[in-house]
């Protein structure tokens, strides 16, 4: 176990260690993050990184392979453009969590603010609570599970991501529609919840949302509007 106390050590030193191949398979404990930005960014190896407290912006951005756990809340831009590995936040996450993330899994045990999963490109996101407005905006691929409620304009201009919501959806964005929940979707949802450590959640009442695919092509009937 390698401990970084951010009270008297720099975030840059921590992140450098996470890029250093000699740290492969080591476990890291980060203490006193106190809302600092860019904690555990661009980790490149299969390490376990535990952050004991609240973090600021851009935590675990560009993560590859590492399993990052934040024991607290996360500020804006958590796990932005993550490639693989996993990120777990025991509290809440702020805006545009998991934006443009390509792979791996992001688990938020609490709520997220607006624009969660914006432009997600293959990541799996599981939120134990609710998400804010414009979540999954222009989401391209991946799976997005929301156990609580979703704010306004969920899945606006959605491509091919699949969204599962346990609670209420305040409103759907353009071209996002409810789709039938088939056995294969129920199985997928169950496996995502289990992977996220939320296997106890009753998935039977969840609804599935996806793209209507009406925005994919230019529609000649709308030509007059341009």
């Amino acid at each position: 176990m390698i401990t970084f106390d951010l009270k008297n050590n720099k975030v840059r030193n921590l992140n450098q260690s996470l890029h250093d191949s000699s740290s492969d398979n080591a476990d890291f404990l980060v203490t006193n993050p106190n809302g600092k930005h860019s904690v555990a960014v661009a980790a490149m190896y299969a390490t376990n990184i535990t952050i004991d407290g609240h973090v600021g912006y851009y935590c675990a951005g560009m993560n590859q392979q590492a399993a990052v756990t934040v024991k607290g809340n996360a500020g804006s831009g958590l796990a932005e453009n993550m490639m693989s590995g996993s990120v777990r936040v025991t509290g809440n996450a702020s805006q545009y969590c998991a934006a443009t993330a390509h792979g791996g899994m992001v688990v938020i045990e609490g709520d997220t603010a607006a624009r969660c999963g914006i432009s997600m490109k293959g990541v799996d996101i599981v939120v134990g609570g609710s998400v804010g407005h414009m979540s999954a905006f222009m989401a391209q691929s991946g799976r997005f599970v929301i156990c609580g409620d979703a704010g306004d304009a969920l899945g606006d201009s959605l491509y091919e991501a699949r969204i599962y919501v346990g609670g209420e959806v305040k409103s759907l964005g353009a071209d996002c529609i409810e789709k039938p929940m088939l056995a294969e979707h129920q199985a997928e949802l169950k496996s995502l919840l289990k992977l996220a450590g939320m296997g106890a959640v009753d998935s039977s009442t969840f609804k599935r949302y996806g793209s209507q695919r009406k925005l994919y092509h230019f529609n000649i009937d709308h030509a007059g509007e341009y």
Binding site: N34, G35, K36, G56, N73, G75, S94, G132, H133
Partner: protein, 301 residues
């Protein structure tokens, strides 16, 4: 970008440390606003029938002694003046409006930062950390305070353009964001008698609230109306004589974190500004929902 902070003390025992906590919060937000900084502190209310007015001069060599004598002649021997570098806090046995009018007529070279019974507003161009030192902010006690670190995007970098802005008695506002309909709204408000000292967008928000309060709105009602009337991006923290409020615009682009314990309620642009407050480990911490008004009032908890 800008950084804003606010601290509202609920436990009177903590009032002595208001300035110390505000200083930490403001210093932590320096990165978000290195151009200039300001603070509004609610403390030391004047006696009944007195007014407290904070004025800002062009420089530290302003002839404050002369002003003091003139004030005593105009308003009587109880007029007191406390100088803080290029600022002075005047305590005058008169109505705040009369003091403001007298200053406008006789000392148009002075800017009126604030007027009321308890509010004092200090602001300065340059590093927030220097500002905190220059005005010995850590030494202030008080009931609540707001602070701002500015990264100018919309109007000039001057002390006058620094926040907090106050256009009503004991009322002030700090803003992170930008307003797009401020010119038209400023014109409308001028017609209704609201005075503006700069071309800054945030001052218009403060002016709008001052007008709504004049019209009889409560602070919460004024903010509800502001949500409808103000166009742009904003996180506002607002102070009044006995209240503190926070609101984020409906789109919710600008950051804000709030925290509350039995002893205090706080807001900041980022959590790190709150991280050093006593008891924060057990505080309720949340991000404000867009277009929802959060407010506290002394005596109502």
């Amino acid at each position: 970008m800008c950084g804003i902070v606010g601290l509202f003390i609920k436990n009177p025992e903590m009032e002595a440390d208001l300035g110390k906590h505000l200083s930490h919060m403001l210093a932590e937000m320096s990165d978000r606003g290195p151009d200039s900084a300001g603070a509004a502190i609610y403390h030391d209310p004047v006696k009944a029938g007195h007014a407290k007015v904070t004025v800002l001069a062009d420089g530290e060599d302003y002839p404050w002694d002369t002003l003091s004598q003139e004030l005593q002649q105009a308003f009587g021997g109880e007029a007191a003046i406390a100088v803080h570098r290029d600022h002075a806090v005047l305590k005058i046995p008169a109505q705040a409006g009369d003091v403001q009018n007298w200053l406008l007529q006789n000392h148009a070279e002075l800017r009126i930062n604030s007027a009321g019974e308890t509010i004092e507003i200090f602001k300065g161009k340059g590093s927030p950390v220097d500002f905190i030192d220059n005005f010995k902010l850590a030494g202030f006690s008080g009931t609540h305070a707001l602070g701002h670190t500015r990264m100018a995007t919309e109007s000039a970098i001057t002390t006058e353009h620094s926040h907090p802005f106050s256009t009503g008695l004991d009322l002030c506002l700090v803003h992170n964001g930008s307003l797009s309909n401020h010119n038209r709204l400023r014109q409308e408000l001028r017609k209704r008698g609201i005075r503006f000292q700069t071309d800054n967008d945030s001052e218009v928000a403060a002016g709008y609230l001052a007008w709504r309060l004049q019209e009889g709105d409560s602070l919460d009602q004024a903010l509800e109306n502001a949500l409808d009337k103000l166009d742009g991006f904003y996180t506002f923290a607002i102070g009044s004589k006995d209240g503190f409020a926070v609101v984020v615009d409906p789109i919710g682009c600008k950051p804000a974190v709030m925290a509350e314990t039995d002893d205090w309620a706080a807001m900041a642009s980022e959590f790190r500004a709150i991280a050093t407050l006593p008891g924060v480990d057990n505080a309720r911490i949340w991000e404000p929902t867009p277009a929802k008004i959060y407010s506290w009032r002394r005596g109502e908890q």
